[in-house]
């Protein structure tokens, strides 16, 4: 597999000295791209922080409606958590396989990541539907508005991640594991791991503290 890419900056210094901090020349493109995407992830975290703050402020305002303790089913939350955690794990293994040019392993781990993420989303959506059915929709109280906004925004991120994963796997199948695709995969795995970190906050603050 010989692929010519135009993004190789000619460097006069050994690259092991290049760390993007002024000494030793430009950092590898892989490092720079991951840094840019990391900034995006952190700004996304700040948006989630605003939603967490709204939930923390409104969690007691049930307006006579059902509270978290009456609505949350910790058993399915635990299953959701495990789905997302294992999905994060297989995503890491997939990224590692791609880095090591093992296309077969990459496709297996990519499929596992997708199935686990989709299972998470399915459980979450059916819980939402169940709550709306019981009359505990987002318009019932301030608590439920904040709950559906926060958890729904996380679910929306997971759904976008699944769509992006299908798109990336299609790129890998069409173009092979070339450098540009590998960098996109690296960014996607950062995104997916970050979603799992947000979920740690969600299940702790919303579900566990709300139910106990």
């Amino acid at each position: 597999m010989t692929i010519a890419t135009i993004d190789r900056a000619p460097t006069a210094v050994p690259t092991e000295l290049a760390r993007g901090r002024g000494g030793g020349g430009p950092a590898p493109k892989r490092i720079v791209v991951a840094y840019g995407f990391w900034i995006f992830i952190l700004s996304d975290m700040i948006m989630f922080a605003a939603l967490f703050a709204a939930y923390a402020v409104l969690r007691g305002n049930t307006a006579g409606g059902p509270s978290g303790a009456e609505l949350f089913n910790l058993r399915s939350v635990f299953i959701e958590t495990m789905c997302l955690l294992f999905s994060s794990y297989t995503c890491g293994l997939g990224a590692l396989s791609a880095e090591r040019r093992r296309l077969d392993f990459f496709l297996i781990f990519g499929a596992l990541t997708f199935v686990l993420g989709a299972a998470f989303l399915f459980i979450e959506v059916s819980e939402f539907a169940h709550m709306v059915e019981k009359g505990a929709g987002p318009s019932r109280s301030g608590f439920l508005s904040a709950f559906f906004t926060l958890v729904g925004m996380h679910g929306f991120h997971v759904a976008s991640g699944l769509i992006a994963l299908v798109y990336l796997v299609a790129q890998v199948i069409a173009n092979g594991l070339r450098a540009a695709v590998l960098r996109r995969l690296l960014c996607w795995s950062l995104f997916w791991h970050a979603l799992d970190i947000v979920w740690v906050g969600v299940f702790t603050l919303v579900y566990l503290m709300g139910a106990s």
């Binding site: 703050a53 955690l85 994060s88 890491g92 590692l96 970050a194 906050g201 503290m209």
Partner: protein
């Protein structure tokens, strides 16, 4: 040629360097630690293992521990020179997150306690 040499023969030397920082083992260790922290959180929330008023603190400590595990083992944030910029950005992001959440909770709690009693009608 063998091993990593052959895998990366089509690259110009040095530029897209291969960094063997991550390994299957580190992800597996991270998964194990994260599972332990998750199960501990659920147990603490649903049993009387912890003194009841201490449960929220215990949950927050476990959540921070798990976030740390995710950052180190899944996001592979290390102490290497490559990660200096990432760590600095993370520190700034955490500062903003803390200000937004703690500030909102503090201000609204203060407003709530200074509210006039609402008359029901």
């Amino acid at each position: 040629m063998s091993g990593t040499d052959r895998l990366f023969e089509d690259r110009s030397p040095g530029v897209e360097e291969y960094e063997p920082t991550a390994s299957y083992l580190s992800y597996t260790v991270g998964l194990g630690l994260a599972i332990v922290a998750t199960i501990a959180s659920f147990v603490v929330a649903q049993t009387n293992l912890l003194w009841a008023p201490g449960v929220p603190v215990g949950l927050i400590v476990l959540a921070f521990a798990q976030i740390g595990v995710h950052l180190v083992f899944f996001l592979q944030l290390g102490s290497g020179a490559d990660h200096t910029n990432n760590i600095l950005a993370l520190a700034f992001g955490m500062l903003i997150v803390f200000l937004v959440i703690a500030g909102s909770v503090w201000i609204i709690a203060n407003l709530n306690s200074n509210m006039m009693p609402v008359s029901m009608h």
